[in-house]
Amino acid sequence: MFYFINLYCTFCTTFPLCCCVKLEFLPQKGSIKEHLISDLSRQKEEEKMEKSEPGAAAFPPTFSVSEIKNKQRRHLMFMKFKQEKRKQKMQLKKKKKKEREALGDKAPPKEVPKTIENQRVFDETMVDPEDEEVAFDEATDEFSAYFNGLTNPKVLITTSDRPRGRTVRFCEQLATVIPNAHVYYRRGLALKRVIPQCVARNFTYLMVINEDRKMPNGMVLCHLPDGPTAHFKISSVRLRKEMKRRGKDPTEHSPEVILNNFSTRLGHSIGRLFAALFPQDPQFVGRQVATFHNQRDFIFFRFHRYIFKNEKKVGIQELGPRFTLKLRSLQKGTFDSKFGEYEWVLKVSNFSLRRQKSCDKETN
């Protein structure tokens, strides 16, 4: 009786004819619901019996639980299958534990579980701190003027054309976080024409927040005299109003900057790009700190204030906006998306073993 008989009577379409026939003859036995339930349980028993009889069960060799058309029965079968599996797993675990206890000291050491972080392939572009060539490269690149103390950062923040409320507030809050930042309305101007004007007025950075459907979703950060342009994707923006247990608004003191995990060559370039946004001398009086934390290619930005409770205890309160960035492309030279040369482009095809590549500004 393995193949459920497909004769349906006129009363109910789900159960084979045999059960419904019973219903007709014995109306006093109770409501239809009870009958249905009893039928269900009866079928369960039948199936159990069939399963327990190893040879006589006649499961066809290619049967799988997903071929049962009836949803309730399929669900039941699957639940049973999972319970069986779990039972076997528990039995195996118990056995192993017993063996381990029996062996005592001679037991083999416990295996380390596989995690995403464990399975990474070492990235060969990790920067060695004593590498001369990389040191020379960084000493003479476009940020050297800032790192040698010759220029002070001056940032121009703007958006794509006709920004809506959330983006406008985001830009205003960014301007409070970054010292010496000015927000300007875009007015539909072309960036390639804005850039020479910025250079003439001694701006060092141009930051353009792109908006889509009233939410900021992209950022173009262009280092001005002739520096690299980075294009990021912004996600999970939280404005000050939406933050819980936040402190009062940030003051005019220049914050301390923390850059975490920018360890590959590409990471170094991006890290320097962020570092050059802020003035080189942080005012520790203000107790403010901006953190760019890079983990698995996502850069998390947070802005905190230290609260010194006594000599040993320090707390932090979060102020200011928080957002996550993901680098989409790094282009050499100022903004020129058509004819510029790209130093790094995010290509999904390069991440075939995405989890198995090493940390932190993954190059291929």
């Binding site: 060539e133 040369e341 790209y342 482009v345 190059t363």
Partner: protein, 383 residues
């Protein structure tokens, strides 16, 4: 130093001024630097072989000096001043007999003799020259191209006027002049033709022997400027790379993209195909040297070199070749022995003849005709 440089089969020039040699078999890269003090003025812009035996590499830098590096000795032997930094970086270096031909970005093409510090010949190839190359067949002929500066083929014996000036493409459907930007070019080996790749993602083939001065063939690839070009040994394909790191194999007979080489993440600055093996080396702004096989388009080798790379030069000898040490001579002997052993094994095995599964075409035709005849007969019978 000397043995290290002898091992290297791939030479690259970087933006920091360091000449890098890579030994593919050992997966090692060696830096060769002229001065102990690096500077950005020494940025290498052009590389070429100093002699047909490939024992010397000529390195052209941004400040106008051409240095000779000897692979046998492993050090820089000579340095010449060929123009100044005002010329812009070198866009091409070539050897014509004993004379050195250089071209800068400002367009002045100069021929230098061995002894003098003044150019023997100087001509202007227009403004903004992006590339100059020498024809492998006629050593006197040189081609230049640049931004808004079409392809021009010059004969150095007659420097007054170019042998061939390419005409720009026809005006587009709005009657506007088409912009024109030759980024890289190459001479096709067995003929007079020249292939160019442009900043407007087109690849053109010009034929100077035909009366047509416009391109004979035009192929478009991608949406980004094509920065590098190389011709593999076959002759009917071309490998191009663009600023996004996409490298493609294009077929020149049909004008179709054959396939793409994956892996590069930054703009391609230098591409070179090996003269005999179906292998192409690419280098670019992402600081890696990659060697791909052209037949199945897989990545064979990838080496991280810490600076951005500008140009690449392949030695004609086998890439996997590692010369020099006696140990390697010993390994070659071992290989020969193994090959001899294999022959014996094959001889002792029985020969199994294949059954002819497929019939020849003639037989197939006969069968078809027979079938047709039988069908006709059947039809008649039914009628």
């Amino acid at each position: 130093m000397a043995d290290r440089s002898r091992l290297c089969t791939v030479w690259l020039g970087s933006e920091t001024g360091i000449l890098k040699g890579v030994s593919v078999t050992r997966k090692q890269a060696f830096n060769f630097c002229n001065t102990s003090h690096l500077s950005r003025d020494q940025e290498v812009r052009a590389l070429c072989w100093g002699d047909p035996a490939e024992s010397e590499v000529l390195v052209g830098s941004v400040d106008g000096t051409v240095k000779t590096f000897s692979t046998e000795k492993g050090q820089f032997t000579d340095s010449r001043r060929c123009g100044g930094p005002a010329d812009g970086g070198f866009t091409g270096l070539a050897l014509c007999g004993a004379a050195l031909v250089t071209c800068g970005e400002c367009g002045t093409l100069r021929v230098w003799r061995e002894d003098s510090s003044e150019p023997a010949l100087e001509l202007s190839a227009g403004n903004n020259v992006c590339r100059m190359r020498q024809s492998p067949v006629h050593r006197d002929r040189v081609a230049t191209g640049g931004k808004d500066n079409g392809l021009k083929i010059w004969d150095l014996q007659k420097p007054d006027a170019p042998l061939f000036t390419a005409k720009n493409l026809r005006d587009d459907w709005l009657d506007l002049r088409r912009p024109h930007w030759v980024r890289d070019l190459a001479f096709i080996p067995d003929s007079d033709k020249v292939v160019t790749c442009t900043g407007y993602h087109q690849v053109h083939v010009f034929d100077p022997s035909s009366p047509q001065r416009r391109p004979v063939l035009e192929v478009e690839y991608g949406e980004y400027p094509l920065t590098a070009l190389s011709l593999p040994a076959g002759g009917s394909t071309v490998v191009v790379g663009n600023t996004h790191g996409q490298i493609a194999l294009l077929d020149l007979r049909k004008g179709v993209v054959r396939g793409c080489l994956k892996g590069l993440a930054g703009g391609v600055r230098g591409l070179q195909c090996h003269p005999t093996l179906p292998v192409v080396a690419s280098c670019g702004l992402d600081r890696f040297l990659r060697i791909h096989s052209l037949e199945d388009r897989t990545l064979l080798h990838k080496v991280y070199l810490k600076s951005r790379l500008n140009c690449v030069l392949l030695a004609s000898r086998d890439l996997e070749d590692g010369r020099g040490a006696a140990g390697e001579g010993g390994s070659q002997e071992v290989k020969e022995e193994e090959e001899g052993g294999e022959d014996e094994v094959w001889d002792t095995m029985e020969r199994v003849e294949e059954k002819p599964k497929r019939k020849t075409t003639e037989e197939e035709e006969e069968e078809l005709q027979k079938k047709k005849k039988s069908k006709k007969k059947r039809k008649k019978g039914q009628d």
